[in-house]
Amino acid sequence: MFWLRWSWRDLRSRWVAVVAIALVLAIGTGVYAGLGSTATWRRQSNDASFSALSMHDLRVSLSPGTFTEQDTLLDAAAAIASADSIDAVAERLVTDNQVDTGGADSVLVPARLVGMTFGSERPVDEVWIRDGTEPAQEEAVLEAKFADDRGLPGTGVVTVASGRSITYSGLGVAPEDFFYEGPEGSIFAEGELAILYVPLATAQDLVDRPGTVNDLVLTLEPDADRDVVQAQLASQMADAGLSATVSTREDADAVRVLYEDIDNDQRFWNALSALVLGAAALAAFNLVTRIVEAQRRELGIGMALGVPRRQLAIRPLLVGLQVAVIGTIAGLGIGVLVGNAFADLLESFLPLPIHRTPFQFGVFAQAAALGLVVPVAASAVPVWRALRVEPIEAIRTGHLTAKTSRLTDWTGRVTLPGSTMNQMPLRNVMRNLRRAFLTAVGVGAAITALVGVLGMLDSFQRTLDQAADEFNKSDPDRVVVQLDTFHPADSSIVTAIGDAPSVAHIDAGLRLPVTALAVDSDDDLDLLVELIDFDRAAWTPTFAQGDEVAGENTIVLARKAADDLGLQVGDVVAVRHPVRVDAERFVLSETDHLVSGIHANPIRTFAFLDVAAADRFGLEGAVNVVQAYPASDASAADVQRSIFGLDGVASSQPIARVTQAIDQALDRFLSFFVVTAAAVLALALLISFNATRITVEERQREHATMQAFGLPVRTVLAVVVKESVLVGVAATAIGVGAGAIFVQWMLASLATTTLPDVGIGLYVAPSTIAIAVIVGIVAVATAPLFLIGRLRRMNLPDTLRVME
């Protein structure tokens, strides 16, 4: 068919442009498909992993410190009325312990010993052995995330509290430990808790409780009524005289956290991918429109010759269709690539045995639909505009496209300085402001996406740095020691810590959970207040605003906390807090505090009071947290080691590990950004380059005229570069501005959903601006240099001869 052949010729003559624009769309759809798939992948991987390891449906745990004879729990479960509903059941012995990893980089950390049955026919909460082998008797499997975090080998020996060594034959994880909370309930737990999975008998032996258990896990038949079984188990345990709690699968932190974040995170990625796809679509629209506009004259001739309009429209529309088809096919490829990159990231973050990352055709189809519609619409608009007019006007399209809008006609009176070669770039831009603007918007859209992505990275990074600076400022090696309960400041435990050989000096204080009541909403905030002796402590918070902690009724909040509570410095906040009435008993009370300042830590939870406020809590002279500063020849690890065994120490953590842990937590987010940023950078460069290429094509005739007047190619090139720079500057300004707005908007939404605990301020780093400038101005300005050959080879007689 003639039209098809013609269009095939078109395609061949501009395949570079078509393919490049198609790639723009492909990156957009690919990133969209890749980012949009993560929720489904996570859900499927979670489902598959929990079910592969037979995660319990119900768990019976005896009260801490109580144990029972082996088989007691099994018998109790078998005795319930709905015993038929139980699919599988397993007894365990779960105890707290501590582990010394030994070796040169030895660390001493709290541990959990899980005694269980390995190689069971009908396992519950099976351990996935990632590296190594199942443990023999007297052997263990070490929890893999801990080993990874501490850089431990796949097999080795560790020492537990009783001083006994145990060989671990491999690294692995049980489903309930896919995620666990740290000793202080922090989210930064990895590396702070060592879990050892050991054969039941070995566990009993290690903790010296032969023949006892304290834990029962069960899976139920598919049609079982879990609530009923749960209730029956609870009463059965009570009847057996056992103090036990029966919890469900969803009560487990691992299940809650692994599923909970999915939707929040996805909303976030959706916004980001929509931005990237939107930028690609906008740019593709602009580029296709400009290519098709160049064909308007031919349309006019066709109309003058009486060719039916419908038939005329086919050819330019085919350009759009080609872009659409190639873009969709390439988008599929890029979607798979980007998707694989994201899938790899997910696999490295989520310690799951099974990862399900099938290509998400549904998500891809959404993006592909846009990828198909945009170029077709982009070619249809100029075709429609051309076919609407009288043929004669379309033939004179030279005048049409060259036409300045009435708006800019007056600029003829404005005399521009410099030679005409210097005036030409600005004049060309002014001559068709609409097109220059659209081009700037097209390139600007890519820069918006780039600044959006990099700006998020910057904002996160700066927040992290702020937190790290604040934590680390007195001494990054200080160790925060949490005591098991409240002790007098002059108690033996506090003195013992201070007297430890590796400890130079200590600051003892109080750390208490309180609830700050919001001024005019129900969103009260749980805070961790620290009572500090502001005059004497080595570490005191930095004040971002205000500076006085005057006596017992003032409080220093994080900026985010103040904002969320609707407070400003000078306001009064009601705080609900515990008050000790006697050694074992606390009651809740509400007192007003004056917000005297804002501290520099972006983490919302932290708040500070003067130590004088202790009597409000009934805790005058009491402490429960000690900051231990290492002696000059000692490290944080030495401090931890020298105080670990002390009676009354609950946990210790070098402050540096807190920031390190935050770093790791954010890395999860950031690496997705890095992948996206790479795609967006490619996108931005492609758009820049294409836009310039099309400009050069549109100006061919003028460039030929300049050369006819003897101007050297480099002078012509300089004119093109200058014109590109003008558009590039506008594009960069649009991109940086819109990108910053996007980041601001994302942060605002993060502030309420994904990361409510951290106050992340908008920050676009100079390096990001530099990259935006490189893409928006340097790339746009250097793109013509790649076209120098084309300019040089230009067939001057033919280009000049063309009748417009």
């Binding site: 005048h399 060259a402 036409k403 300045t404 006609d409 003829g412 009176r413 521009l416 030679s419 005409t420 070669m421 005036q423 030409m424 004049r427 060309n428 002014m430 001559r431 005739r701 003028e702 030929a704 005229t705 300049m706 050369q707 006819a708 007047f709 003897g710 101007l711 050297p712 190619v713 040089r792 001057l796 007689p797 000049l800 001869r801 063309v802 009748m803 417009e804």
Partner: protein, 258 residues
């Protein structure tokens, strides 16, 4: 000036248009230009011998497709011949590099195109200044104003091309060529798209240039226009088939009618 002219017609023998002219400005010897169009070889110029001197007003006539534009492009060093030599303003351009030909165009020739090829983004004044700037002449602004005044457009300095009529645009194009100050003026059908009155105006300007010493070559397929030239060169199928004074003698511009 050669007397009489040879009969033109299909298959007519080619004429040596060097005879009687020194060729001080333009000197073409045995110039042939062939284009390869697919498997077919098109001969656009076929053994052209031509001399033109200063202060000449030469018309090149012939039917469409006979090679007029190609010939002008050879003279203007926009293109190089397949064989033969082209010498313009004392410089041989046929074997010259692109850069040397660009330099030649910059300082020896200037073009007036049938389709004007004005810069649509520049005002009339700026378009004309471009000519002076391109030829690296000092005080281009003043030169441009003078050139525009010369073509009667002193009032339209700050208008953009699309705000001007076709005749005005062509006059801007002429002013631009004049502003270069280059000795050879090449005009390809400069009146082709214009009405009679405008065409006359333009011819007048071109003739004035020839009188003041420039070499002016005007391509036209209008034999009436050719009558005002000093010398008429007729092309047919890429060959010069006649060369001499206009048939029936040189006419005054005021006497023209078409």
């Amino acid at each position: 000036m050669p007397e009489g002219e040879q009969a033109a017609g299909p298959g007519a023998a080619s004429v040596d248009a060097r005879v009687g002219h020194a060729g001080t400005r333009i000197d073409l010897d045995a110039v042939t230009k062939q284009y390869q169009v697919g498997a077919v070889e098109v001969t656009a110029l076929d053994g052209i011998n031509l001399h033109v001197d200063e202060a000449a007003f030469v018309a090149i006539v012939g039917p469409s497709g006979c090679g007029k534009t190609t010939l002008l492009n050879m003279i203007g060093a926009l293109d190089v011949p397949t064989s033969g030599t082209v010498r313009v303003a004392g410089v041989e351009s046929s074997g010259a590099s692109r850069r040397d030909r660009a330099a030649l165009r910059r300082h020896a020739v200037s073009f007036i195109f049938q389709t004007f090829n004005l810069f649509p983004g520049l005002t009339a004044l700026e378009n004309v200044r471009f000519g002076a700037d391109a030829a690296q002449r000092a005080d281009s602004s003043a030169l441009a104003e003078a050139a525009l005044a010369q073509v009667g457009l002193a009032e339209r300095l700050h208008h953009f091309p699309h705000q001007l009529s076709g005749g005005e645009q062509q006059r801007v194009a002429i002013a631009r060529a004049l502003a270069t100050g280059n000795p050879i003026l090449l005009a390809d059908e400069p009146t082709g798209e214009l009405d009679f009155r405008t065409g006359i105006q333009i011819l007048r300007v071109l003739e004035e240039q020839a009188r003041s010493g420039m070499t002016v070559l005007v391509v036209t397929h209008n034999r009436e226009i050719a009558r005002v030239a000093d010398r008429v060169i007729e092309l047919s199928s890429g060959r010069i088939v006649s060369d001499g004074a206009p048939v029936g003698g040189k006419a005054e511009i005021d006497d023209l009618q078409w």
